[in-house]
């Protein structure tokens, strides 16, 4: 039976005021990444210079690519009198240097507090300039409101809304909307779709823009990304598959397309873990009327084979899982299906449908001990819960590195940001093959720790018990 202390009623410590060691980032950051998934686009952060520089730095450290994010560089005067002039100058300069097809303007807590009316400023800019090549899309992303996760969803929805048209004829292409995942996972999902032979538009597709093959030069706006023509077509799509189980309806791009354009929404968890990948395959089978391609069947077979091989090791794991809601849900379900009962499941975000989704998942899983679920979490909460519940491994981004440093709880790195290891963008978990890659990393992290310590631990534990008997004549427990 579930321990009542460990159910979702124990989710947040409402009395706590300070956020200590952050597990999430600010809302415009997510918006910047979404715009990197649109072809020919440039993100412009309307606020202080520091905001865009911090977002660039965070992305650069994760993706290891030169990533440009422009800023309207507001100073004190403009903060008092309004940022219109600077924003227009920024638009001019970004257009001159980058000549982008799209400029996404993300607001910040500063400009939201100033009450900047972006729609009016953009209308006035367009009136001044006449016909321009560049589409300008404003997105409201105040970081006192939500986290980078919701910034990503909001920008994705607003990008679709900017191009969607009622007069798009219905067609056979399907829409695929991804949450903030690694470029490797985007590529894996595209490969699966290609293997099925479906015609699709995936948004936002930053798989090439944020992970460039070496070409001997630096592209100011890297090639790749979803084209605006394809985005416009999404409002006439056959169906939308959105990996957004935890996405609130109010900012859900798939929900927006369904409500406003009648495109049916299939809202799925990320295809990470066998159960979740099966759901994706089932959806594709229903949409296409085909059966699953043979090589995907092999991949599924290799995954099951490996799950059997490693299940007893995995049974010893008590993972603490943290990060963005969609990833956290997917890794929790992957762990559960491998017999690794999570100790803590945590997200920095509070605006998601993670908790009810986890409740359903845990109800089905019949585990002996229920994980602690934390929303709006910081790492002081995650660390405390991990220690209390006996976590012996973690899954998440670099923000949790003190778990290893202070408690030797090793982290299977996944999510964003990963700045203390190489290859954050290459971390693969999606699809059957991706799941297997991830599972091996997970199991081997357990094994590495076990092999590095079990001789000494067993020796200490058991010899000290013998010593106790020698001393007292009894086994003392």
């Amino acid at each position: 039976m579930p321990d009542s202390n460990h159910t979702s009623s124990n989710r947040t410590d409402t009395a706590k005021q300070v956020n200590e060691n952050q597990c999430h980032m600010c809302m415009p950051l997510g918006g910047v990444i979404a715009f990197k998934g649109v072809e020919g686009s440039m993100a412009l952060v309307h606020g202080s210079q520091g905001c865009s520089t911090y977002m660039r730095l965070t992305n650069v450290e994760h993706y290891h690519e030169p990533i440009d994010v422009a800023s309207s560089s507001l100073n004190e005067k403009q903060t008092i009198y309004g940022g219109e002039k600077n924003l227009k100058k920024a638009l001019d300069n970004v257009r001159r240097v980058y000549n982008p097809k799209v400029i996404g303007i993300l607001t910040t807590c500063l400009t939201e507090t100033m009450g900047e009316d972006l729609n009016r400023i953009i209308a006035s800019y367009k009136a001044e300039k006449g016909e321009i090549y560049t589409d300008i899309i404003p997105v409201s992303t105040p970081s006192y409101d939500k986290s980078h996760t919701e910034g990503f969803w909001t920008a994705t929805r607003d990008i679709i809304a900017h191009y969607a048209r009622k007069d798009i004829a219905y067609h056979r292409k399907i829409n695929v909307i991804v949450p903030h995942i690694s470029t490797a996972d985007i590529k894996a999902i595209k490969l699966i779709l290609d293997t099925w032979g479906v015609d699709y538009t995936l948004l936002p597709d930053y798989s090439m823009t944020l992970d460039r093959p070496f070409a001997g030069k630096y592209a100011k706006i890297p090639e790749g990304g979803t084209s605006t023509a394809d985005i416009a077509e999404m409002s006439g799509g056959l169906v939308t598959i959105q990996f957004g189980l935890t996405c609130e309806e109010s900012i859900s791009p798939g929900h927006y397309l369904e409500e406003n354009f009648g495109v049916p929404l299939i809202n799925l968890p990320l295809p990470i873990g066998i159960g979740n990948t099966d759901m994706f395959m089932d959806a594709l089978a229903r949409i296409t009327g085909k059966t699953m391609p043979k090589n995907l069947g092999y991949e599924r077979g290799w995954l099951i084979d490996a799950m059997a091989d490693s299940h007893k090791y995995n049974a010893s794991a008590r993972p603490a899982i943290y990060g963005e809601p969609e990833l956290v849900y997917a890794y929790a379900s992957l762990c559960l299906e491998n017999g690794s009962v999570p100790s803590v499941i945590a997200s920095g975000s509070v605006h998601s449908r993670l908790a009810p989704a986890l409740d359903r998942l845990l109800e089905e899983s019949d585990c002996d001990e229920m994980p602690v679920i934390l929303e709006g979490a910081d790492f002081s909460m995650i660390e405390a819960a991990a220690l209390e519940t006996g976590a012996n491994i973690a899954i998440g981004h670099s923000g949790g590195r003190l778990l290893t440093e202070n408690h030797d709880i090793r982290i299977v790195r996944a999510g964003f940001p990963i700045h203390d290891r190489e290859g954050g963008q290459r971390i693969l978990s999606a699809g059957y093959a991706g799941t297997l890659t991830f599972l091996d990393r997970f199991t081997n992290t357990l094994l590495e720790k076990k092999h590095s310590s079990y001789r000494e631990l067993r020796k200490q534990e058991l010899l000290s018990k013998i010593a106790a008997v020698t001393e007292t004549g009894f086994t003392t427990e």
Partner: protein, 461 residues
């Protein structure tokens, strides 16, 4: 697929208003335009006032660093520096008041006060630095009053740092805000008395990868003790004793001159500029310090130390100079102090500096820089990636020294890269740092990978 970069040819990578921020050294005595605000839309490498203040103060190990604002500013600066501590590690924690919409509407003072209460109860710190951010400055929270009340209530130093980001995009303004905060902390309060000592303070040293400890060892061998560095491995207690020191060393000129001047005026502590990056700089700096103490014993020990250490660096220098001489280098770093040190070290290796610049250099610093460089070297203030790219290609650069944001731009062009930034884990200071620097320059400039990157075999199209 198409041509990799279809757009660059249609665009003008140099914005007209940026032209005055780019000069070449030599006969043309055009003066560089610098220290103004960044140009909107030009993708400056600069940050903000908050960033500057936070990097300067953050290494104070036993203080609580509380960022008053929405989550982002704290999140982006969570444990970002490689500063080491010999004691507590409170400074590595990132605290945010995590302001929400209601705090923005109704004011964040209550929340700030509650956060301070919570932190005092949990950590009982000797001092709390409260950093203001954009929104806080905008809505006018009176953080000075909240800090004053908390100081009185708990009898500890709760110090406001005026670091609202929009005040300036120039980190130097943030350094000043940090200097003012430190000045508040170190000034003895009524009735407090600080003993005068023969020790020195080491301003502008952040103990990245243990760099303060390297210099501490040299000075100890010379017979001189450090009271405290500002702010690497500093404790609040040691900082509070700094007004009784004999001498201030000023290293990172961008961040600490203001404070050094104040300390000279108020506490009669003279200061000297030193630079421990590079073997020659280190030797000169140690001699300068010994000269100040004017003690034959110290002078003798100093010369012995220098002679022993510099020989080891020379040996390494000669070994790698053969491979590195004639290679073309670019430098783009935060402040001029760092640029000077790197220019000298690379020139020592026989390398040619073809491009240099800083985020925050001052006019006289750029003029001095121009004199160090051969004719035709490009000097840029507050460069953007487009400009850096243009000159890396035009000047056929082999290796670049800079910060994280430039690293991957260099790699994309097949250019080596030397990390001289805040998050490096290994020290570059002193004689041993000079050796490490030379090895790093060699490892990246002469790496075998560039051969493959320059090979044309297709496969990327």
């Amino acid at each position: 697929m198409q041509e990799v970069c279809p757009l660059t040819t249609e665009t003008d990578s140099l914005i007209a208003e940026r032209r005055e921020s780019i000069v070449t050294s030599g006969k043309h005595k055009t003066s560089i335009s610098c220290t103004s605000d960044s140009l909107a839309g030009s993708v400056s490498q600069r940050a903000c006032v908050f960033c500057g203040a936070r990097v300067v103060l953050n290494p104070v190990t036993d203080a609580v660093h509380l960022v008053h604002g929405p989550i982002g500013c704290a999140s982006y600066t969570y444990d970002i520096r490689g500063s080491l501590s010999s004691g507590t590690e409170t400074y590595r924690k990132s605290f945010s008041t995590d302001m929400k919409e209601r705090d923005v509407i109704f004011g964040g003072e209550k929340k700030l006060a509650a956060c301070i209460d919570e932190l005092v109860e949990k950590y009982n710190p000797p001092a709390i630095f409260v950093y203001s951010t954009c929104v806080v400055g905008m809505i006018g929270d009176d953080i000075v009053a909240v800090c004053r009340e908390a100081s009185q209530a708990y009898d500890i130093d709760v110090i406001p740092v005026e670091s609202s980001g929009f005040i300036s995009g120039n980190k130097v303004v943030g350094y000043r805000a940090a200097g003012e905060a430190l000045y508040k902390l170190i000034t003895p309060k009524d009735g407090e008395f600080v003993d005068k000592t023969r020790k020195l303070n080491f301003l502008g040293e952040y103990n990245l990868g243990g760099e303060k400890w390297v210099v501490e060892r040299y000075l100890k061998e010379m017979g001189i003790e450090i009271n405290v560095a500002m702010t690497g491995d500093a404790t609040v207690e040691a900082l509070k004793k700094s007004s009784g020191s004999f001498l201030n060393l000023v290293q990172c000129t961008g961040s600490m001159h203001w404070l050094a001047n104040r300390m000279e005026e108020d506490f009669s502590i003279p200061y000297i500029d030193i630079n421990f990056f590079g073997a020659d700089n280190t030797a000169e700096s140690l001699r300068k310090i010994a000269e100040f103490y004017d003690d034959p014993e110290i002078t003798a020990r100093t010369e012995a130390l220098i002679n022993r250490e510099i020989a080891a660096v020379r040996e390494v220098n000669e070994k790698y100079r053969k491979k590195l001489a004639g290679k073309r280098a670019a430098i783009y770093v935060g402040g001029a102090f760092k640029a000077f040190a790197i220019i000298r070290q690379l020139q020592d290796l026989g390398m040619e500096i073809v491009l240099t610049g800083t985020q925050t250099g001052k006019k006289e610093e750029y003029e001095r820089m121009g004199r160090l460089l051969s004719e035709g070297t490009v000097i840029i203030d507050d460069a953007n990636p487009a400009e850096i790219e243009k000159f890396l290609i035009e000047k056929k650069v082999d290796v670049m020294a800079g910060g994280v944001k430039e690293r991957f731009l260099a790699y994309k062009l097949g250019v080596g890269f030397i990390d001289h930034n805040h998050d490096r884990k290994d020290g570059l200071i002193g004689f041993e740092g000079a050796v490490r620097f030379i090895r790093e320059v060699h490892a990246t400039t002469c790496s075998p990978v560039w051969k493959y990157l320059r090979e044309e075999r297709g496969g990327t199209e």
